[in-house]
């Protein structure tokens, strides 16, 4: 009797241990990073000192903005992420809708397979030739090039996502609209789209985050006027080994990720539904 409850208690303790351990593993780096950003790292950098709340300062943030050119990079990041988001949604949503409405399962299967298989393409084979192509064509570093690459990167996943959402729209509702006299375009815009709106939100959120965080295409294809935060922080922190700079790097980095993390925590419901959609068929 006693052994049973002890075993149960140990099992439960083990479960809590796993969850707590994983939780700490996930967020401890971010917390350390943030604590360093508000500390004067020219005085100290060890972990216990970072948490001792001595030498709290906002200087690191001030330096990031003034000398690190943070706001310039932020503007570019928002432009790239926003444009990519809009482009991807406009291109992918009708395409996904059309695929779900195909009558032949064979054609449908081929297209779905095609969409799926393009998810594995290495980004360097998009970035490198485009980089050379734009040099030869004479317009390097344009926003157009970056967005084109982001479109290539995002389309497979977002189309796949939206197919899953459109497949969940009840046929009866659409057929009722047809009977009421709607054209196929009207069925799409007035019936199907509103129903998949949560899915659209999920796709939009994920597409924005992915484009905001993107680095490789920005590195190859963004010119001096278009560089986003990801390139900005690498230029700033690239090979820095100097101790005093660590706090500034932490501030720069924190300003990049903390807003996104807070945003993700608020909309986590959409992110979860987006990432599990299509993978879980219920």
């Amino acid at each position: 009797m006693f052994n049973q409850t002890l075993k149960h208690k140990l099992k439960l303790a083990f479960k809590y241990f796993v969850l707590l351990g994983w939780l700490l593993f996930c967020i401890a780096p971010i917390i350390v990073f943030f604590m360093a950003s508000i500390s004067d790292t020219s005085l100290f950098q060890t972990i216990p000192e970072l948490f001792s709340l001595r030498g709290l300062t906002l200087d690191n943030y001030r330096i990031s903005i003034n000398q690190g050119n943070f706001l310039f990079y932020l503007r570019n990041s928002l432009i790239i992420a926003g444009s990519a988001l809009a482009t991807v949604l406009i291109v992918c949503t009708p395409m996904a809708y059309g695929i779900t409405k195909l009558k032949s399962p064979k054609v449908k299967g081929v297209l779905v397979f095609g969409v799926l298989s393009t998810r594995f393409i290495p980004y360097v084979i998009i970035a490198l030739p485009l980089y050379l192509l734009f040099i030869r064509l004479g317009f390097t570093g344009s926003l157009f090039g970056v967005i084109m690459a982001h479109l290539a990167m995002q389309t497979p996943f977002i189309v796949w996502l939206m197919i899953g959402f459109f497949a969940g729209v009840p046929k009866e509702i659409e057929e009722a609209a047809i009977i009421d006299g709607c054209s196929s375009l009207q069925v799409f815009t007035k019936v199907s789209l509103p129903i998949v709106l949560p899915g659209l939100n999920a796709a939009a959120i994920l597409a924005f985050i992915i484009s905001y965080n993107e680095f490789l295409f920005a590195l190859f294809l963004a010119g001096p006027n278009n560089r986003p935060l990801t390139v900005g922080i690498m230029r700033y922190a690239g090979g820095a080994e100097v101790g005093a700079q660590f706090g500034v790097i932490a501030a720069f980095g924190s300003m990049i990720v903390v807003p996104i993390i807070i945003f993700a925590l608020i909309v986590n419901r959409y992110i979860v539904s987006g990432m599990t959609q299509g993978a879980v068929k219920e």
């Binding site: 939780l23 395409m95 360097v124 050379l132 192509l133 040099i135 932490a250 925590l265």
Partner: protein, 295 residues
């Protein structure tokens, strides 16, 4: 009624754009790989046929890059699966599943996935794996283990990169497995319990087999994602001490942009593309993933 929807009207624009944005670069890459192209002497390209590919097969750096990429991808896949199955199993286990903890926990578990990749690498380089002041060495010292030079020791750099990338990728697998596990009918679990199965047996003999297609699918996603990884490695260790983390994508960057040998870099990129395609096809054939797409 079917003809009414005119699906191809909706599909064609997106399909054309998709094919262009993917097709043009790949076509250019193949074309470029047959030439000797110098980035800093553009205009003097000349055709050299398969020479880039022959050179690549004999290039020791390419072989290193290939090996590192494979080890990195396999390492990440194994670790991600390990952690994600463990954590998702616990999250859906008896006392935990219905508690109020799961929603907030899941929300926090997403954090590594939305953290900007280059910031992850910089964070790792400056505060986590750093030899003197890093978090890892601090924790190790607390329990009496000597701290290591994680990023500058050749045989430690790659495992460090693998762990860092695992940190970033696990949430994706975790979410999918968690969602899949929660859709298992409770009646199935109940009847197994009535038959006397304990929790662990239920997990290994019932739950995990049910989600095995999800595991297979996700492991392919993780593998291909890790194989082509650039951002995290570039910002964490670059090509690493003694090229310990010199993955293929970094070699492409180095050869194309730093050295300026564009034709060769394109050949490497296309070879990378071929390798991933072949591996994916083999993987799909082994696990018959083609059938899943029909569902």
């Amino acid at each position: 009624m079917r003809k009414f929807y005119r699906p191809w009207v909706f599909i064609i624009p997106g399909l054309i754009l998709g094919l262009l944005t993917l097709g043009i670069p790949i076509y250019e890459a193949i074309k470029n790989s047959f030439y000797n192209i110098r980035l800093y002497r553009l205009g003097s390209e000349f055709f050299i046929g398969l020479e880039n590919y022959i050179r690549l097969l004999n290039d020791p750096i390419f072989l290193i890059a290939l090996r590192v990429s494979l080890i990195f991808a396999i390492g990440c896949t194994v670790l991600v699966l390990l952690f994600s199955i463990l954590v998702s199993s616990v999250l859906t286990s008896d006392k935990i599943e219905d508690s109020k903890l799961t929603r907030p926990l899941m929300a926090l578990f997403i954090v590594p996935f939305v953290t900007t990749q280059v910031v992850t690498g910089i964070m790792g380089r400056t505060f986590i794996w750093q030899t003197e002041f890093g978090l890892v060495n601090y924790l190790l010292n607390l329990i009496g283990i000597e701290g290591q030079a994680w990023l500058t020791t050749p045989y430690l750099a790659l495992p460090t990169a693998i762990i860092t990338n695992t940190w970033r990728l696990t949430p994706l697998a975790l979410l999918v497995f968690y969602a899949a596990l929660t859709t298992i009918p409770k009646t199935l679990i109940e009847s197994a319990k009535l038959d006397g199965a304990n929790e662990f047996k239920i997990l290994t003999k019932i739950k995990l087999p049910i989600i095995r297609y999800h595991v297979i699918f996700i492991s392919l996603i993780i593998f291909t994602s890790a194989f082509r990884e650039f951002d995290v490695i570039f910002s964490l260790t670059g090509r690493g001490p003694a090229r310990a983390t010199n993955v293929l994508s970094i070699m492409v960057y180095e050869q194309g942009v730093n050295v300026g040998n564009m034709g060769y870099a394109n050949a490497i990129a296309f070879t990378m593309f071929l390798i991933v395609t072949v591996l994916t096809i083999i993987y799909m054939l082994i696990f018959k993933i083609g059938n899943i797409g029909d569902q």
